[in-house]
Structure formats: C-alpha cells, structure tokens
Symmetry: C2
Subunit: 167 residues, 2 copies
DNA sequence: TATCGTATGTAATATCATAACATGTCAAGT
DNA sequence: ACTTGACATGTTATGATATTACATACGATA
C-alpha cells in the first residue's frame, strides 16, 4: 500500500504491491542476521535500514547520511557508508552501482541474486526476480573455473509506463 | 599472444587466448560502426580505443586520460569521458561499474550482453560468454513489461588461480 | 565560402568514497 | 567491580570519480 510513498518518487516496483509487511519483516530479519554473525543491529544501522524502507526507493549514501544526521547521528560520510555496507553484507540492502545508490531489498525472505531494472526516462527502479539469471551466471562462470560470491545485475531501459510514452 | 602484456596486470581472460587479431578487428569495426551512425572515429576516440586494446585490461578514465594527454590530446576529464562514452555507445568498450573502469570488448564481432567476472583477490577481470544470461534477463524483464536497452552484469568472486590459493 | 552540426579543449565544480585516527560501548573473564 | 579486547561510532582530511558550462575548432555540404 505504498506504491507511491509521499516522500519519494517511484518505488521499487513498476506495479503496485503490498508493501505493508516489507519494513517489519525486513527489520526482524536484520536482527536475526546480525545475531547470526555475532554482530549487532545498532541504532545507526537500524535507522539506516528504516530510512531506505520508508522511502522505498534507491537513495544515495549522502542522502541517507543527511537523514541520519537529522536524527542525531554523525554527519560524516563514513557514518552512512559503514551502516550501508553492513546492511549490504547482510543482504538486506542492495547497492545499485549505475545509480551510485542503495535500496532496501524487496525480497528479504528469499536468498536471491538481485537484478535491477532502471528506467532511463522516469528513473524508476524495480527489483526483478533473477533466479534464472543467477543460474545462467553460475553456468557461464563455472565453465571458466570462476567462483561467484556476489553479483551486480542491472539493466537500463524503459519501464512499462515510459515504454508507451517514448516508443 | 598477449595474455600477459608487458604494461599491464592480468588481461581480460583467465586463460591464454589468441589476442593477435583483437586490436585490428576492433579498430576496423569501430570505423564501420561510427560510419553507420553518421559519426566519425576521430583521433582521440581512436587513440582511446587503442589504449584500452593495448593494455588489454580494465582502466580508469583518469588513467586513459593520462595516456591521451601524453599523446598530445586534452588534459581534462571530459576528454577521456567523452571518448570512452562514445566507444561504449558503439558497444566496443564496456564500462565496469564495480571497478569504475572501462575495458575494450573481447568479442567485438558478436552483438552481446557483456558479463564480467572480477576476482576480488588478484583483481583479474574476464568477460564471460553470456548469451544464456542475456536470454534470462530478457525473460525476467519482459515479464514485467520492461524493455532492456543496456545491461551491466558483474560478478565478484575468485578466479581459477586464486580459488586454489584461498579456498 | 557561409553555415550548421559535430567534436574538442579548458576551467570550475559537483559528487561519491575512503583512509586514518580518536573516542566510546559492550560483554567476557577474572 | 575492574580490566581487557573486540566492535562500533564519530571526526578530520583527502582522494577519486564524474559532470556542467562555455569557448573554440573542424568538416561536410549547400
């Protein structure tokens, strides 16, 4: 129910979706995963994740930093980068390199390889199911003897809405 | 025959390969493609491509810029970025976002979606055959009504050599 | 040769990211 | 309770990457 959040542009999917559980699920998951690896979901880290969940779109590190600073956390870049890197490690936040941005994962429950579809016209970003892409990557890399640990899969193009507007 | 070029670290493939035709083929292709789109393969552009072909590895824009400047071209960042962007448009150079770098394509003949395998230990970069990956991406995006124009597919992990060294 | 689109060069600046170091916090062991 | 050591935060400073804006030059073509 937050396909068009008040404080943001387009969300992380092209179609409406039920977002009501995203935040709570993800925060719970964050606690679990942190504990699993003997780390803590500290206030900054938690808040950083909340910020991404609230806006529900891709945000630059400095943008997140600004929000953290407003909440009384540190004002310097490392504050944001450290929190974000931590969340990326957990797999709950993805880094979208083409946009120099971060976004909370929209499928925190499933282990998955994220694939982002970025509209070059309206800048919407969607996270696509990419299980098949992952398998293809595995196959291609295994043939070369390469062992994959992380992937960044991003596509630039036109989202459904803009595809009509600009053929 | 240039798997380990004198002026560079690891090349763009994990295994040795016949590189003797890469440069010439690609330069010829660059001429064709430029003409096709009513543009010109000007000296800076040509030289930028040669630089990437010679070193045969991923290079940062500023690194390319330095080499261009040595050859009498402009010394400011836009000089490099413009030439590189042009070559990326042509599809003869790929941008590797995780490395903030550019690399000449190793399969200039085929239309293809590039997929890079980046070793986090020795920093070698290989361009993997990714036809299957491309198909999977198409399928995933078509299901959402998204029209792909460009992709960045990058995997981080361990190359064959480092995979043994660090299990 | 006048003109227009393309391409290059430069200066200035914006944006993104990290290194290095000081301080603070928390839990385990004594 | 006190010490210790690992983890976490905060700050300063700087590095690295990328773009905007504008002036100049080139090249095809009418």
């Amino acid at each position: 129910m937050c396909a068009t959040p008040s404080d943001a542009g387009p969300g992380l999917a092209f179609a409406d979706h039920d977002h009501s559980h995203c935040a709570q699920d993800t925060l719970a998951r964050a606690d679990e995963l942190s504990a699993e690896r003997g780390a803590r979901l500290t206030p900054v880290r938690r808040r950083a994740l909340e910020i991404l969940l609230e806006s529900h779109r891709a945000m630059g590190a400095y943008e997140v930093l600004e929000r953290l600073a407003e909440d009384g956390f540190g004002k310097q870049p490392p504050v944001a980068y450290r929190a974000l890197d931590f969340l990326v490690e957990l797999g709950l936040v993805h880094r979208i390199r083409r946009l120099n941005a971060f976004a909370a994962c929209t499928h925190p429950g499933e282990a998955h390889v994220p694939a982002f579809l970025i509209c070059r016209r309206c800048e919407a970003v969607a996270e696509a199911p990419a299980e098949a892409v992952r398998r293809a990557m595995e196959a291609a890399s295994a043939a070369l003897g390469f062992r994959i640990e992380r992937t960044n899969i991003e596509a630039l193009g036109l989202c459904p809405a803009c595809s009509g507007a600009e053929p």
